[in-house]
Symmetry: C2
Subunit: 424 residues, 2 copies
Amino acid sequence: MNYLKASKAELQKELEIQRKRFDDYKAMGLSYNMTRGKPDSAQLALSDEMLDPKYIGDGKAGETNCKNYGGIDGIDPMKKLFAELMNTNPENIIVGNNSSLNMMYDLLMKFMIFGTPAVKKPWCKSEKLKFICPVPGYDRHFLVTESLGFDLISVPILADGPDMDMIEKLVAEDEYIKGMWSVPKYSNPTGVVYSDEVVDRLGRMYTKAEDFTIFWDDAYSVHFFGDEPAKQKSLMKACEEGGHPDRCYTFMSTSKMTFPGDGVAAMGSSLANIEVVKKWINVQSIGPDKMNQLRHANFLKDYEHVIEHMRKHAKLLKPKFDVFLETFEEEMGDTGIFTWSKPEGGYFISVDTLPGLAKKTVAKCNECGVAFTPAGSTYPYKIDPQDRNIRIAPSFPPYSQLKDAATILCICVKICTLEQLLGI
Amino acid sequence: MNYLKASKAELQKELEIQRKRFDDYKAMGLSYNMTRGKPDSAQLALSDEMLDPKYIGDGKAGETNCKNYGGIDGIDPMKKLFAELMNTNPENIIVGNNSSLNMMYDLLMKFMIFGTPAVKKPWCKSEKLKFICPVPGYDRHFLVTESLGFDLISVPILADGPDMDMIEKLVAEDEYIKGMWSVPKYSNPTGVVYSDEVVDRLGRMYTKAEDFTIFWDDAYSVHFFGDEPAKQKSLMKACEEGGHPDRCYTFMSTSKMTFPGDGVAAMGSSLANIEVVKKWINVQSIGPDKMNQLRHANFLKDYEHVIEHMRKHAKLLKPKFDVFLETFEEEMGDTGIFTWSKPEGGYFISVDTLPGLAKKTVAKCNECGVAFTPAGSTYPYKIDPQDRNIRIAPSFPPYSQLKDAATILCICVKICTLEQLLGI
């Protein structure tokens, strides 16, 4: 039934049906949590073998004794692996500890204090600071720049990436826009893969701020559900071709390849940028945990082995996503009141209710024992101006909970929408 | 022979003898490196057992799955262990990744941008920034504050810690002095153990800057050579008693207990400070590597086991120190031109030539195939105003090299001094 074309009587009848279904589910006393975009225990088990001491061997990576001090930018085999994943050269890579978010945060802090490598004007001395946030997007990105005092400028994500017309206009006119967040592949939460055209435009656009910097969080680069990961042009290459080789930093980690808390993160950038960043981190630390890098390098080996390993993740993840997608199709397909992403990778499904209903829907689900990420979380300052978007994270809960959770979400969307349409 | 009381003829004869010895050593074509304060391979082997998967078990610390995301301040058993080592409570601890220097740097960056938890005035907005550096001291500390634009103020280390009369006067008068570095036990490089009186005075002194902060790098807290580590009053307690509970942060790591590159670092501070720092790092990262924490917690267990483990290090380290100390006694004991520390723990021996001779001496040693840390390294801006201090790191080179290295140092000190005394 298309809710938007139905009669009042039909809507009232439908509301009764859905309220009955809600009550039945509520009576079950469920307590499900769909908020966390993290791997489940079966996914973690895929990497348990990595803990075998054979992946450490004698603790050496070539000449480097990974147990001792030294080596600020990571061990060679790990640089080589990330270079393959980022489609660049090992010289363009710095391998760090377990958190790519930490690397992004640290880099922003350096820009605040020292300025960017090329421009060297400390951002903290700027009268104003603004940052572009594609929406819906990753809450933790937004929080970092919010905490550092940036004004967050929302730019909508379209089917092929953020609205480039809008971005080009903004950055050309406003010298205080210092940079932009991006999750370019299987974006969080929409699953959108930025097109090569978007990548090229980001690389060549004029920016009024000469130190405009793109934080390219390629978190889901090889986190695909199909046969192989989506192909995507390297932003580093696009920036080079566009005449702005120092504009971007690409970040990646093995968090959702091996162990989320204990993976290895890396950044890639132009040689000029990497040279300066290495000098900075050479003051900051004696170097990253090389043993964990060695363990990962020996376990993940090379690009082909990573892809093979990620296929095992996909095999566990895709059925979980399918439960939601199939339920949405069955329950909501013809209602006209609900849209949802159909991601081919990543960790989230992004859904939109009619305007003004996301918060109510999530609250209603909670009442029924199913927790979804608080509505608004995918927007700067946690405010979704249209109150429509809900992020669903199907990966962590057991498979057995997903059908109920998806159905309850649909019921709650229906009830909230019907109540609004009927003016209740 | 006391060089300062000898006749010119005696000095000339002595110079000939030492030059002959120098030439003999030089002819050996040695290539020894005494610059690096890091454990040798036998010390590393003491912790190889930690790589046994049994120390990971099922990857759980209580309810916490160490493999997955979560837990911003470290796992409970590791907080407990550091609390024992720091003589405080687990609630006062944040456990991080592998580098305590990194934790110090990060904290300073937070102060630059956000100000201290109590005062909240960003240091980067201050007209001037100054930091107290006990000298001789740790070059990497000095470099951190230098890179952030602080003026570095040298305060001499006396037998019981830094010159407190001088410090009290400085901090009472200068609002731009924002803090102070310290290695309070077996200090780098002097081996000095700050007395409880010094600790108490640091805790209670008046500072004109209300956000004056002591960075207490207890890097060698349990790195003793004798029966047990030197007892030392907790600065956190002294600050509490002195009415300045939020004045200090204590840092520690297992770097020189297990693997230098792959240990676990922690900081301790007042509950008020810890609460704010946790909020900051909750924006910065998803959390530290919990698996490595688990491995360490299970291997090091508790304070008693740590001490037992550190006795094994001492057994390997002390003989290496003794070679230098005995050689100095034999060669330099009655010369009147050379003094040296007699550390009861830590990683360094600090020696002083007559003024103006340290650089020359190190260069002379290099000529003879023995590298010592460049003279001046232990002072801010790498400038030792008297050019006297040389830092010796006996830990890393093989035992077999040490007697030659120590003897060559003595010969070079003698030659440089004799040449100066003779006006050559």
